[in-house]
Symmetry: C2
Subunit: 699 residues, 2 copies
Amino acid sequence: MDALFRPRSVAVIGASSRQPSIGWQLTHNIVDDGFQGALYPVHPTLEHLHSIKCYRDVRDIPGAVDLAVIALRQDRVRPAVEACIEKGVGGLIIISAGFREIGPKGAAEERELVALCREAGVRVIGPNCMGILNTDPSVSVNATFSRTSPPRGNVAFMSQSGALGEAILNFANRLGLGVSMFASVGNRADVSANDLLEYWGKDPSTDVVLLYLESFGNPRRFPEIASRVARDKAIIAVKAGGTHTGQRAAASHTGSLAGRDVATGALLRKGGVLRARTVSDMFHMARALANQPLPAGDRVVILTNAGGPGILAADALEAEGLSLPELAAEVQERIRPHVRPTASLANPLDLIADATAEHYEKALDEVLGSGAADLVLAIFVPPIVTDSAAVVRAIARAIVRARERGVEVPVLSVLMGEEGIVEGEADLKAARIPVYRFPEEAALAMGAMVSRARWLAQPRESLESLAKAAEALRTPEVDQLLSGQGPGMLDAAVARRLLAAFGVPILEAEQVEDARAAVAMLADGHVVLKAEGPSLIHKTELGAVRVDLRTVAEVREAFDDLKANVADPHPGSRIVAQRHVGGGREVLVGASRDPAFGPMIAFGAGGTDVEAVRDVVFRVAPLTEADAWEMVREIRAYPALMNDRRGKPADVAAAVTVLQAVSNVMLACPEVAAIDLNPVLLLPEGDGGLAVDARVERG
Amino acid sequence: MDALFRPRSVAVIGASSRQPSIGWQLTHNIVDDGFQGALYPVHPTLEHLHSIKCYRDVRDIPGAVDLAVIALRQDRVRPAVEACIEKGVGGLIIISAGFREIGPKGAAEERELVALCREAGVRVIGPNCMGILNTDPSVSVNATFSRTSPPRGNVAFMSQSGALGEAILNFANRLGLGVSMFASVGNRADVSANDLLEYWGKDPSTDVVLLYLESFGNPRRFPEIASRVARDKAIIAVKAGGTHTGQRAAASHTGSLAGRDVATGALLRKGGVLRARTVSDMFHMARALANQPLPAGDRVVILTNAGGPGILAADALEAEGLSLPELAAEVQERIRPHVRPTASLANPLDLIADATAEHYEKALDEVLGSGAADLVLAIFVPPIVTDSAAVVRAIARAIVRARERGVEVPVLSVLMGEEGIVEGEADLKAARIPVYRFPEEAALAMGAMVSRARWLAQPRESLESLAKAAEALRTPEVDQLLSGQGPGMLDAAVARRLLAAFGVPILEAEQVEDARAAVAMLADGHVVLKAEGPSLIHKTELGAVRVDLRTVAEVREAFDDLKANVADPHPGSRIVAQRHVGGGREVLVGASRDPAFGPMIAFGAGGTDVEAVRDVVFRVAPLTEADAWEMVREIRAYPALMNDRRGKPADVAAAVTVLQAVSNVMLACPEVAAIDLNPVLLLPEGDGGLAVDARVERG
């Protein structure tokens, strides 16, 4: 990868003197951005280009070539690649299009090219890409045909779309976001997002990694790699193409309630990646994470000189789930003598329209020194009679002073309007305080900071070791249970035994041959009768479940009816009896195997209307205990589970046990395609939980 | 109001030669923006200002003064107002602060000023505001102290925050959004948002009204006024201050499940107002609604030369609920000969990176002529080798040509990146095609356009006549039922009779004095027993409800238990028996009286965990039939209600009946503070619905 990103020499094959052209722009960018090595333009006829000697063929170049960039017509790419391999280049960027993206013929040619390069040990970026750049002054290579050169900074950026890459570099420039490295990966025939994540994970000049993704090359490896990198660097992703395919692909059983978009969300989350809704949201987050420390909590204090923007900020911060505690009376009293008498000192602190530089400085001093804020948002709307530049400078000064005293509270600023702002902004920039135009943008960034801080605070469990531990739980009994079954829905009794073997608490079910045997169960309380069998999947809908049977007459009637109308017409089915368990709350636990992402675990409010209510959350297996607790707390019905108006709260710890057990089944048994436990009854706290109905599908 | 917005003469009281100052900026703006009438600066000592003769006192001005702008120290405002009244000015703008916003003393002074002006028939804007402007060339008055003068256009804008007003004018300028009138209303002591809505509703040069609201002055009148204006003009509002207060104010019964923010949403919706989440979203919507026709449906076709932005646009459009149908094969075939062979012609139409001006023009011609699109989104990312300006011009040309042929399909454009775009943009601007930088912004605007078109297509029912019709339903029986009751929860039997009188279908409940009477009811099926009484509000939680009693023994046991453990310990309570109705789906209907907004009606998924699941939607009464249907279709559980896997769909029409009946009760009976019907059982389609439990609170 160093040959690609830290080359000492670059050959441009397809360099051109024609303007505008990709071949010209590539050469121009390398020269213009001050490449610290040797540039060798390769051209069939030209003697010189950009005052640099040209070569007819890459093999004619006298010295070593670390990186070759190929920008030729599609049909000339293959010979050029072969020449490069012969020359012994270290890495290749293939700009040329006309490969996998145009159909099967192009895909085959792409595969052949990659095979050639792999054999020769040459890494390839592209084809069909815009190139790469590295702003490290000791390298300073811009091997893209972008017309925008970003400033040096600590943000690395990968784009799967070349077109968007250019637009985004442009946008980064306007926002003053500095870039460490950039790569447009095109068809990702060889170098993938995973490779870049690993590489940038080790790059000391990169603090934030931005990903524009359209698809995952190897989603199985992604969470492991990302979560390792995310320990040290913030990763923010925009994933396009979610909704569309997602809605079309939605299937019927609970494990597949997750559309592609939800699955993607689960995968990114597993990797500790912050997800941005749009490219501009990604930049708002990046500017904060690239320049400010992480907060210790979620308490935000807002300073403003205008009520409206303060309210907008408060709304947006609360929507992000952050808190805005009132300032303690003693802090307010320390600030009061230094500001206008009519200033409002709760939170937001409204210093009112004619607040001066001194007011801002003193108020910030006190807020930053008080320990009352985990994050501070300084809003300033330049009024006509104030020296705006002085106010902005005072904000910067107070923050720098607090830093010098060791205060590590992140501060973001919102400067609305333009007059007088520009001069002052230099001071904020020097203090690395991001400036936003609208309060909502800063609020979004703060939400991302808190979310990242929370993720980092979670205990670290290696995903690999969790997966290994799960596999170790596969006993000979499990082998035996599974080996006896063909594809499709497992026999209900086998499914129960399989799940029990992994520690899922299951409500026992006893096969009953006649009504008498069922009646005998009344001795232990009310009874449930069910017909079970290979063609009885949607039992409730088929009338195959009779709950809360209380009398001999009820049991008899239900048995006879089930037998005659459900069991007998469905060959291979039988009737089982269970104890009727009252007083629990219904939840569902499910799992399915996503063809790309692997096992997805679902948790949600239970009952028969699961699909309609869709109060379901998803994670990618393996589940850490923290993941499972997060899932339980995330569903909308969680407060209802914990509501003790009708008795004790539900035993949600039992749900965590079931979730981790189901995750283990999926990891240990690749034969299992899907699991559906609905309902799982959560009994009152301390009494555990019970899976009442279990469906397991073999792939 | 014309004296304020169309003055022929303006006096500035507090004009100043000192720079920067509000008094100077006001005078400067009036002169500099080319006011078409006479300006009279009023100053205690100066002879001339801006080459214009000054007056010592407004009363010294020789001619009539339509509008006086007061920008004096707070303690000098009152004498100036008195002088203005004596002079006989038509309207007043009080810029000065120091009134209601600083506390009770200021509020009292403000009230006195307004009383003086009202008596004299003078309308007042402010105090504590930034002024007004009208860009109509025959008036051309900029009586603000903003440093930004917006271009002439068809968008009127009201801000409750002066600070935000300036920032927003600035932003409008950068986006090239033309303004017809602007008003910063400050404390709204006299002229309110409602007044401005009515005034702008009649202004022929205004097509879109933007509102930045922090609170509603008179929310009762707002929906009536807004829905009248919204027939002709799009109204878009940003309402700040929702979440914060909302969450703190959330109360316990279902009618109050609506926080302030939800109530605000219901109020805006009632008025046909589009709600924007942020100020920038408001502008994205405004640019589309101010310049493009409304769509006839929700089918969007996307043209692009880059996959990534096309996918982002598709995602965002689907999130807005719009559809992206594939283009019919014959349309694709008509386009195919004119574009690259590798172009993808489904939807998005990806014309690929090197698409030329001709490709765009031909494809747009076909798409616009095909009738396949209700809206078209043209995305262009300038590649290095294309004449970008030519492409942008071709897009504009195709749209203009389609318009000339009578095609009224709205088109928005997204131009990412900058190179070569600027020249072409003039053509788009001339064709009134809004240009966005990101696909998501255009998608949001399209969502607003479709939403407005749908609102306009709804049958128009006058809110006033609905309210009158409801009042006419109040019979002498209702008077009698309510007159016998004090404040607090109505007796359950009285509540049932009241609701029945308005047409709410209620499940009968018979008071049973002993177990024998209860057992007798078994003849008609299973039985429900309930204890009812003034201290038995949360019946389920108190164990006061026994459902599905099937045998004599069960009824007896339940009766005795209820009597001994619930009814007897709660004085004034009794036991009632109801038929147990099986097979219905539970929903809730509720109502509460918001102190500011009036009656709010709630509809949601029913059952005991209502508050946790919060699948509830709200509207402001009176409900049109369309409103009630919208509510029913909006809850997340709607698909479950219509799901026929377990029999017929639920009778949702019955829910509409109950909703409108409850709305009528609230309108006809101001004594009723809240209604809570939970559950309402919706029986299978055709069988109606039944309110099983009813609580009515008297205010």
